[in-house]
């Protein structure tokens, strides 16, 4: 059954394969072939899998999304989307329909020792170094969308920051989808060597059409290095979005993720991170669902060694018939004594038909640890509404203010001004903002 659907994709593969980057690299074609075999056997994830029980992907199986071929389309430059989402204070790599677009990317002034380029270029210019990292942070036993991505990725981003280099400006990879029924499958690899420091923003946008984004990002954070990764998922509200972020943290490494899930009809994001001795991770998330959006976030924090610290806060605001899913796993290995971990998921339901499914899971095999978790699903607090009313604010404005405030806590964590303003705008356009005065914020 599943394989029948998968085979519709695999049947197309032989025509597409020659156009994929790195065809001259035997190790890569072998890797892709392996992934293809795995995907053919498994098909897309099914509701029967524990990790997918809340998210039904059958909708994408009914359609056949095709990877855009190099040279096709791209004649319409989505200037509006670029104007709204390309950050002025960052180096940027623009991927249109899964392909690198040099004319739209901004990479002038990069330090010579730092590599920021499309992964297709990296595979052509420095394949040995890509080989050292690709598919090393993500496990082959992961769900089949990872294999799907490995087999099909048409391009993506490659970032390499050598030891002790602190990149002054952030790097943005802007994924833009412009064609209906398109499959944009991209792979990003970010390597921060020992004591390096980098901030990367992954932005996903698209025209008002149905398409499928399937992105996998691998991050390697070296000894005492610091990586902050932002994800701005602002896909078209007809789009399907799948994304997996897999992180390997070395000793004393710090990794911070800010996951903003605003768009897409159906979105699923997996974030997995492995912590070594005394490494720290912070996972922040905000998902806003309106209409019939379905937004699923899935995190896994793997404490492998002692003295690791993890902090996680995911917040969801769900209106209309939207559904939010949060599954957060924290695993503390037997060896990971003195782990300090906190996980929180808070959901605000604005309508009776909205739904939040939240499932925190702690798996603790060490005995000397500090682990806490909490979840809430609720409505706006009536006491707070009355308090604001008693301060002259009408009820509707009070509700809007409290909803905004709930979401804004996550927006305020963004340290990059232009990105902060973008996220703020996204929050404001998605919910009633009557009575909220932007100038005063």
């Amino acid at each position: 059954m599943t394989t029948a659907i998968a085979s519709r994709y695999t049947a197309e593969y032989s025509t597409i394969a020659p156009t994929l980057p790195g065809q001259n690299l035997a190790w890569l074609t072998a890797l892709r072939q392996q992934a293809l075999t795995k995907f053919s056997a498994q098909g897309f994830p099914s509701l029967r899998e524990e990790e997918w029980r809340y998210t039904n992907v059958s909708a994408i199986e009914k359609k056949l999304f095709s990877p855009s071929l190099i040279g096709q389309a791209q004649d319409i430059v989505p200037t509006d989307l670029l104007a709204s989402y390309q950050l002025p204070d960052a180096w940027s790599v623009v991927l249109i329909d899964g392909h690198y677009c040099a004319e739209l990317s901004v990479l002038e002034g990069l330090p010579a020792t730092v590599t920021v380029m499309s992964i297709a270029d990296a595979l052509a210019q420095q394949p040995e170094i890509v080989e050292r990292y690709i598919n090393q942070a993500v496990n082959n036993d992961e769900h089949s969308l990872v294999a799907f991505n490995t087999a099909w990725f048409t391009d993506g981003l490659f970032v390499h920051v050598p030891a002790k280099v602190i990149l002054e400006k952030p790097v943005q990879v802007l994924h833009v989808s412009t064609q209906g029924d398109l499959l944009a499958s991209t792979r990003t690899v970010i390597v921060a060597e020992d004591m390096a420091d980098i901030k990367v923003i992954e932005t996903f946008v698209g025209l008002d059409i149905a398409y499928l984004s399937a992105a996998v990002t691998e991050v390697f954070v070296g000894l005492n290095a610091d990586v902050t990764l932002y994800k701005m998922q602002c896909e078209s509200d007809k789009a399907y979005h799948f994304c997996g972020i897999y992180v390997k943290q070395a000793k004393d490494a710090r990794f911070t993720h800010h996951n903003f899930a605003f768009g897409a009809l159906l979105a699923r994001c997996d974030i997995h991170t492995d912590l070594d001795l005394a490494s720290e991770c912070e996972l922040n998330g905000l998902y806003l669902g309106v209409n019939r959006q379905h937004i699923d976030n899935h995190t896994r924090i793997n404490h492998l060694k002692p003295h690791g610290i993890s902090r996680e806060l995911y917040k969801g605001v769900l209106d209309d018939r939207a559904r939010g899913v949060f599954q957060g796993r924290v695993i503390v290995a037997e060896d990971a004594q003195k782990t300090d971990s906190q996980m929180n998921n808070r959901n605000l339901l604005l309508s009776n038909d909205a739904e939040a499914d939240t499932k925190p899971q702690l798996e603790i095999y060490a005995d000397d640890v500090k682990c806490a978790h909490g979840v809430t699903v609720g409505q706006l607090d009536e006491k707070s509404i009355f308090y604001l009313q008693s301060r002259c604010v009408d009820e509707e404005t009070a509700r809007n203010m409290l909803t905004f405030a709930f979401a804004n806590e996550m927006v305020d964590k963004i340290k990059i001004k232009s990105l902060h303003d973008q996220a703020l705008e996204q929050v404001l356009i998605r919910f009633p903002q009557a009575g909220i005065n932007k100038e005063w914020l």
Partner: protein
């Protein structure tokens, strides 16, 4: 200013206020004392319009208008201010934002234009100084992570900026150390005016040393059982509430 006539109030079918009568004239300060659970906060909430109470009889008129008919925010804009016994924390909304929203709502209600940004800042900073607060408090979320005393001070700060006509202070003195109490009392005293009245709910004579009331009322079991001048508070401190509760029974 305020006229409460034979007010009876239920919560969940249980009668909490059992016929309250109270007249407050402009410029007066009334203290309301009484044992725990006697209905003091209930009365404060009813005046500011909190939901969840059923008025079963009586009336409240404020500046000649039926107060109970007005939405809570309209009462606030008309000059009713409640300093809460337990101020609510509002994460994500800064103090300064709320102050601006509140002040401009009042101005709009009275047909005035939005306050000038510079004037506003000057006003707010003045009042912050008056209450000996740190300016940083302005940019923090409303009451979030504030200590008990800081929350109470923040209530008075809002009051000082909004300049209400009827100020209801529900146990603003509880939880304040003596220095904070003095600062808060000074803040309140600086607001005293011929057209502004105060209702101060308190358990302690201590506050009344700094803010001298014109009248003291004792609320017990949902009724005002005794009223008198400032000296009544001293008498209560000495003899306890049972004295008046008993005297009521004897009448």
């Amino acid at each position: 200013m305020l006229s409460i006539k034979n007010l009876t109030v239920n919560v969940n079918d249980k009668q909490i206020l059992k016929g309250i009568n109270l007249e407050i004239k402009p410029g007066e300060i009334h203290a309301i004392m009484g044992p725990n659970g006697s209905g003091k906060s209930t009365l404060s909430h009813i005046l500011s319009g909190k939901a969840g109470y059923t008025v079963t009889g009586g009336s409240v008129s404020y500046q000649g208008k039926d107060l109970l008919e007005m939405a809570p925010e309209i009462r606030a804009r008309e000059g009713v201010f409640l300093a809460f016994q337990y101020p609510v924390e509002i994460p994500g909304v800064s103090n300064i934002y709320l102050l601006k929203a509140a002040l401009n709502s009042i101005r709009k209600h009275h047909g005035q234009s939005e306050v000038d940004a510079m004037d506003f800042l000057t006003l707010v900073k003045d009042k912050v100084r008056l209450l000996e607060m740190d300016e940083k408090f302005l940019y923090r979320a409303v009451n979030e992570g504030f200590s008990g005393g800081e929350k109470k001070r923040n209530e008075i700060l809002q009051m000082a900026i909004l300049e209400p006509k009827l100020c209801i202070l529900d146990e603003t003195d509880s939880g304040l150390d003596i220095d904070a109490l003095k600062v808060v009392a000074e803040g309140v005293n600086s607001l005293r005016a011929a057209d502004r009245s105060f209702v101060m709910v308190t358990h302690y004579q201590r506050l009344l040393d700094y803010i001298k009331p014109d009248f003291v009322h004792v609320l017990a079991h949902g009724q005002i059982v005794k009223s008198g001048g400032a000296e009544l508070a001293l008498e209560l401190e000495e003899k306890g509430y049972s004295w008046v509760e008993d005297s009521k029974a004897a009448v």
